[in-house]
């Protein structure tokens, strides 16, 4: 149970949103919606602990996550448009570097499986500089697979479905379903309202703001 | 000339029966030159035996300069008339020229030490050779710095041409620079008073080195031609995957 207690966040000097209260249950998928510039990315980055909250706090199981940051960030995987892939490495090397960075060591099989989970194993030796947009995205999403091997509780995904073709979108949804089964929590932003048929919560930042207005 | 050579088959055929004579001739000339240079030529009346260094130093110097010239020319051919062969030739020349420029500098230093008591002087000729070395280096680095080879070739060719324009300017400017500061007397390098017994081994080495480089260039070009063929075949294989 992750809770945001009247969270206020600035970007530059402008308030992105103020006194936001909401909570994310486990084994539950939440779509963050809202028009461009409404603060979806900002929200995700705040939860991931990149952007310090101006006011309010974020608590997981009723403990402020900032008390032990490292404990918190270990539990989550964050993927956004920037992806964190370096052009000079191949898809596989990037994945390995990321694993080592996370402090996780795993077997060759699992790596292959992870790549296969987004249908990337035939591209595993392609340099990122030679990947198309969609391939890059998939190379980044391959990380999600390791949540089934190591203990990860949260996925924070910023517009993950962009650039993905039909097939890999399906694979991605499969990953999501499996993760929810292992009662993880997923918070993702998207503009594609009919991305998910399955049941899911919706957090609409615009609605919240309108409420505040009135 | 390039037009005529551009066709790789003709190139191979033409050079095929050149290779053997080239390598034999060059090796014999060089070994003869070495023998005369080391054992069977007079000392210089003022430099003594040190003059023997000239037999390796001067030919390398000459070749380093000449090879760069031909490299730049073939780059022009490549950029203007888009002859793939010209590019190959340029790339074949580059490493050879690089080595010769290094040789010049080192043997030169080895010569300078006993003669001038110093390894290095900032003389125009020396310095411009050092700069030439950097142009060779830049050419090689740049032509390998891109994901696709052709991008590298094109860019590096431009660099080579820039060098062709600038090297004379640089050499001139360094000469000019010497006239500004009173040139120190001992550090002049107009070579020893060459008599013909010295000239003979020198000539041998010069020609030997040149023929040897020519041989190497031919080999390298052939290698690259084959590599190109390989790439083409790989493409064909990919094509098969499609159709």
């Amino acid at each position: 149970m992750l809770e945001l207690n009247n969270l206020t966040i600035l970007r530059g000097n402008s308030i992105v949103f103020s006194n936001l209260n909401t909570s994310f249950k486990s084994s539950c998928l939440t779509l963050v919606k809202g028009k461009n510039g409404s603060g979806k990315t900002t929200l995700l980055r705040t939860i991931a602990g990149f952007i310090p909250a101006e006011e309010g706090n974020i608590s997981y199981q009723n403990v402020d996550v900032n008390l032990d940051k490292s404990l918190w960030v270990e539990k989550l995987i964050y993927v956004d448009a920037k992806k964190g892939l370096s052009q000079e490495l191949t898809v596989l090397e990037n994945l390995l570097a990321w694993l080592q960075m996370k402090g996780w060591s795993t077997s060759k099989e699992n790596l292959i499986k992870a790549l296969r989970s987004v249908d990337m194993e035939k591209f595993s030796n392609l340099y990122i500089s030679q990947c198309s947009e969609g391939l890059k995205k998939r190379a980044a999403l391959a990380r999600l697979y390791f949540s089934f091997i190591f203990e990860v509780k949260f996925w924070l995904l910023d517009e993950p479905s962009n650039d993905l073709d039909e097939k890999s979108t399906l694979l991605f949804k499969e990953l999501i379903n499996n993760f929810l089964k292992t009662n993880g929590t997923i918070i993702l932003t998207t503009h594609d309202s009919n991305l998910f048929k399955r049941k899911h919560e919706i957090l609409d930042l615009d609605l919240i703001k309108e409420k505040k207005m009135s | 000339m390039f037009d005529w050579l551009a066709n790789p088959h003709r190139f191979s055929r033409l050079t095929g029966n050149l290779q053997l004579p080239l390598i034999i001739l060059s090796t014999t000339m060089i070994s003869l030159g070495l023998y005369y240079g080391l054992f069977d030529s007079p000392k210089d009346y003022q430099q003594g035996d040190a003059v023997r260094i000239m037999y390796v130093h001067v030919p390398s110097a000459w070749l380093a300069s000449f090879l760069y010239f031909s490299l730049a020319i073939s780059c022009i051919f490549y950029l203007v008339w888009k002859h793939p062969l010209a590019d190959l030739i340029a790339n074949a020349i580059a490493p050879i020229g690089l080595i010769f420029s290094v040789l010049t500098l080192i043997t030169g230093s080895l010569w300078g030490k006993p003669m001038w008591g110093t390894w290095w002087v900032w003389d125009a000729r020396l310095t411009s050779m050092l700069i030439l070395f950097f142009f060779y280096l830049g050419f090689i680095l740049l032509s390998n710095a891109f994901e696709r080879k052709i991008d590298g070739s094109k860019t590096a060719s431009v660099l080579a041409i820039i060098g062709l324009i600038n090297l004379p300017i640089i050499k001139f400017s360094v000469d000019w620079w010497h006239t500004l500061h009173q040139p120190s007397s001992i550090l002049r390098m107009d070579g020893p008073s060459i008599d013909k017994e010295m000239l003979f081994p020198l000539a041998l080495m010069m020609v030997g080195f040149s023929l040897f480089s020519l041989y190497l260039i031919i080999i390298n070009v052939k290698t690259m031609l084959m590599e190109k063929k390989c790439e083409a075949l790989i493409l064909k294989l990919n094509l098969k995957e499609f159709s």
Binding site: E88 | I131, F134, F135, L137, G138, L141, L142, A145, F146, E147, R148, D151, K154, T155, V158, L159, I162, I165, N166, I169, I170, F172, S173, V174, W176, W177, L180
Partner: protein, 230 residues
């Protein structure tokens, strides 16, 4: 409405405006470049120690070498950014001759990087206690030589455009080209110092700069066309 109807000078101006706007919105860069130069000078004065006589020997050298080294960091970005953010792609969809765009680049570089340095020569003179009779010549030399430096710099930048680790290759490629500028530039002041006529060096410097003013834009344009095709 095609751009052919636009006079090229106009094109030149507009691009100049954009460059200046982008790179030099803030004063910081100008301050930065000047302080960089100052720091190079300071480094040397510390390196050779306080003895005035020694300083005099190398004061001119420091200024010119400093000038050349100081601008190197500013070069790479001038083109690389526009390749990465796709601006050159957009340029490729217009019929404006690239040569002009690139000439305007060099000029904007001169205005925003070299010119501030020229303005701050008095400080350098004081630090290196160079006699003030040198000042006008130094300024003249730096303005002319500086233009050549910008032009060569742009060529270098376009050479390494899209190259792996271009930022490290760049210095190797351009410094050799800068040597004549250095020699003629220093020559001017050395001539003054020992009471000779500096005019020859000055003329040589001008000639060199003119040559580059003509060829540099074409070289850069050629290279950028190659870069876009990737």
């Amino acid at each position: 409405m095609s751009s052919n109807n636009l006079s090229w000078t106009l094109v030149f101006i507009t691009h100049l405006k954009r460059d200046l706007l982008i790179n030099y919105r803030s004063l910081i860069d100008i301050i930065a470049i000047i302080s960089f130069m100052l720091l190079i000078i300071i480094l040397f004065t510390f390196g050779i120690g306080p003895i005035k006589k020694n300083l005099d020997i190398i004061s001119n050298a420091i200024i010119w070498v400093g000038l050349i080294l100081a601008i190197i960091p500013s070069l790479e970005k001038t083109l690389k950014k526009d390749l990465e953010n796709g601006w050159f792609d957009q340029l490729a969809t217009s019929s404006i001759p690239l040569e002009i765009v690139l000439l305007s680049r060099s000029i904007s570089h001169w205005i925003m990087i070299i010119f501030p340095l020229i303005l701050s020569t008095p400080i350098f003179l004081i630090l290196l206690n160079i006699g003030k009779e040198q000042m006008p010549w130094l300024i003249l030399g730096m303005s002319i030589g500086g233009l050549a430096i910008s032009l060569i710099g742009l060529n270098g930048a376009s050479l390494v455009l899209g190259a792996k680790r271009g930022n490290i290759l760049l210095p190797i490629l351009i410094i050799p080209l800068m040597i004549p500028i250095l020699i003629f530039g220093v020559g001017i002041n050395e001539a003054i110092k020992i009471g000779q006529e500096p005019i020859n060096n000055l003329l040589l410097l001008i000639a060199f700069t003119l040559i580059y003013l003509v060829i540099s834009p074409f070289i850069s344009a050629l290279l950028i066309r190659i870069a876009i095709a990737r």
